[in-house]
Amino acid sequence: MLDAAPADIILGGDNREVPDSIRNGYAVETRNLTKRFGHFTALDNLDLKIEAHAVHGLLGPNGAGKTTAIKLLCGLLKPTAGEAYILGKKVPDRSLLPQIGYMPQETALYLDLTVHHNLSLYGELYGLTRKRIAEREKDLLRFIALEKWRDSLVANLSGGMKHRVSLACSMIHEPKLLFLDEPTVGVDPELRASFWEYFNGLQKAGVTIVLTTHYMDEAQHCDKIGLIRRGRLIADGTPGDIVKRTNTTNLEDAFLALAGHQAEA
């Protein structure tokens, strides 16, 4: 089914012999990446290539395997089969850790600490100087529009606010590669727009962003998207390209068309 898919822009040359994916401009490359939990196959032979300096969206319904894919890329899960390369190195590799940022789906903050102390903890863990932490904190708080909440306990923030703090924590050390699991869930439309503006700004500064979402309309902001369904990559390319390929008018219809296609196969 994958082979039958129309021309694929990203899957250009066959570089299987060369693990040094960064040479080919890929920040992330996976080969037959598979994860099974018991009898359940969460991710099935995922071949993913993500260009450096791009915003790459992983789209799909709940339970499609997006989060599993992100966790495998971050080294939080061990693949059942296949491998993943990040910035030219095979995962897991401790030397990658300072270069990547990870925002998990759950809040994963210390509720008993203030916003400031959450941010500075992660700054310290990445070895940032106190001065640098202060600078980064200032920038990030402005970005997430929580400057006034710096000294509030995270426990006292709303769900959306916590989500924004969590996003800031994953970026405190200016990673080259950001993995964001559902970064815009529970964020109001106005702020969501500013998020995308910010992501595109980071991208221009040379950051690669891999994010998951199940909002099809959001995917328009991505340079490239990968559609994941039942643990399989059913299509990838630019949003426009995928729409064109499937003879539909929007990504939602495109996804439904591709899903029908997968079900037949």
């Binding site: 899960l77 300072p98 990870y102 759950e106 994963a108 210390y110 008993d112 863990l125 070895g127």
Partner: protein, 381 residues
């Protein structure tokens, strides 16, 4: 291992506590309450036991005295008034009724020719008489019954001595090798500190670390340069500081409020208990790192607490455990602390004796911490 990252974790725990006054309050008040409750309840020795006496002893005129004296009266006078409270009745039936109705724990009967027979037997042990104090006890409470027997025997020895009656056999147990004048509380509290500190620090860490996993922050930490050993050491350090403060509070409480015997060096006692606490928190981290959720972690509590409670000799001496179970005592960590604190506080032993226990506890600590790191490491993937 990076000291800076380790300290970041330690600092974050204290920063969190700063916003949790309730936890902080509990952390430092619970040890005091724990020791006080045990200290007051086990004020130690049994006292104010109601005993009924039927004294039929007619006394005897022991030469060269000119008046008759009663050995029975002397025995009663020599009984510790705080331990036994006497009530007098005329007949045995009346006395037995008191015991049967639960108004007294024991009935002591001195026969009419008691003094004369004891005197005669003292002069000529071959005489075919056998002077007896008859004691009828309510043995439903073994400890109380034993206390009555012991008090009467001791009083008897003192009384015969004061009256110049030769007793054929005397055990002189007044020369204590160690812990002269120790009360039951003096024996009990050193072990009790071990138990309280063990439970406190164990529970505290058990719950603190498991929330790192349930909140998802553990996964986030796994993606930072922080290593598993830095994480474990950061936790161990933070809770060690807390444990050392708790240890100091407990020691001050038992010495100031209960005036517990401190035959040895108080600083050595402090070190022993502090090392025990650090060992307990390491076990807490280990159990916590094995658990997936708070509910699971709580299940470790009886699993760990029960054997320690029963086998470490805190309440009952190890000598009271069946012989085949005794080796197990040395597999439960608090045993070493209980032995060492008693040795220091009651026997006055120094480092030259208790180093064995200290080394054992440090070995347990290292093993627990290494296993914690291993258990966290195994989780990845």
């Amino acid at each position: 291992m990076s000291i800076r990252r380790t300290l970041s974790i330690t600092r974050r725990i204290f920063r969190g506590l700063r916003h949790d006054w309730r936890a902080l309050f509990m952390m430092f008040l619970t040890p005091i309450i724990g020791v006080t409750v045990f200290g007051v309840a086990f004020s130690g020795d049994v006292s104010h036991v109601q005993v009924v006496v039927v004294n039929q002893d007619e006394g005897y005129q022991i030469p060269p005295a000119t008046v008759a004296v009663s050995l029975a009266d002397a025995i009663i006078a020599n009984c510790d008034a705080d331990v036994l409270r006497f009530a007098y009745v005329a007949t045995e039936e009346e006395g037995l009724d008191r015991v049967k109705s639960g108004k007294a724990y024991g009935l002591i009967i001195f026969p009419s020719n008691f003094t004369s027979e004891v005197y005669a037997k003292g002069l000529d042990p071959t005489l075919p008489i056998n002077p007896k104090i008859r004691v009828a006890l309510d043995k439903s409470n073994v400890t109380v019954a034993n206390t009555i027997t012991k008090a009467v025997s001791e009083a008897m020895l003192k009384a015969s001595e004061s009256m110049g009656i030769e007793s054929p056999l005397v055990i002189d147990a007044d020369n204590a090798v160690y812990a002269e004048g120790a009360s039951f509380r003096d024996f009990f509290l050193p072990g009790n500190i071990g138990f309280i500190m063990f439970m406190l620090t164990f529970i505290l860490t058990l719950l603190a670390f498991v929330s790192e996993r349930t909140s998802g922050s553990l996964q986030r930490l796994h993606v930072t340069p922080l290593t598993d050993s830095e994480l474990v050491m950061g936790y161990a350090l933070a809770f060690s500081i807390i444990a050392v403060i708790q240890t100091a509070i407990v020691l001050v409480t038992i010495t100031v409020i209960f005036n517990t015997m401190m035959a040895g060096n108080v600083w050595l006692a402090f070190v022993v208990i502090a090392v025990l606490s650090i060992m307990s928190l390491s076990l807490g981290i280990l159990c916590s790192s094995l658990a997936r959720a708070e509910a699971q972690a709580i299940q470790f509590l009886p699993l760990v607490a029960m054997p320690c409670f029963l086998l470490s000799g805190i309440f009952w001496p190890i000598e009271a455990i069946p012989v085949y179970l005794r080796p197990l005592s040395y597999a439960v960590p608090p045993t070493y602390a209980v032995n060492a604190t008693r040795s220091v506080m009651l026997r006055g032993w120094g480092l030259e004796h208790v180093w064995v226990e200290l080394v054992a506890m440090v070995a347990f600590t290292v093993a627990f911490l290494v296993l914690s790191v291993w258990s966290l490491h195994r989780d990845r993937g």
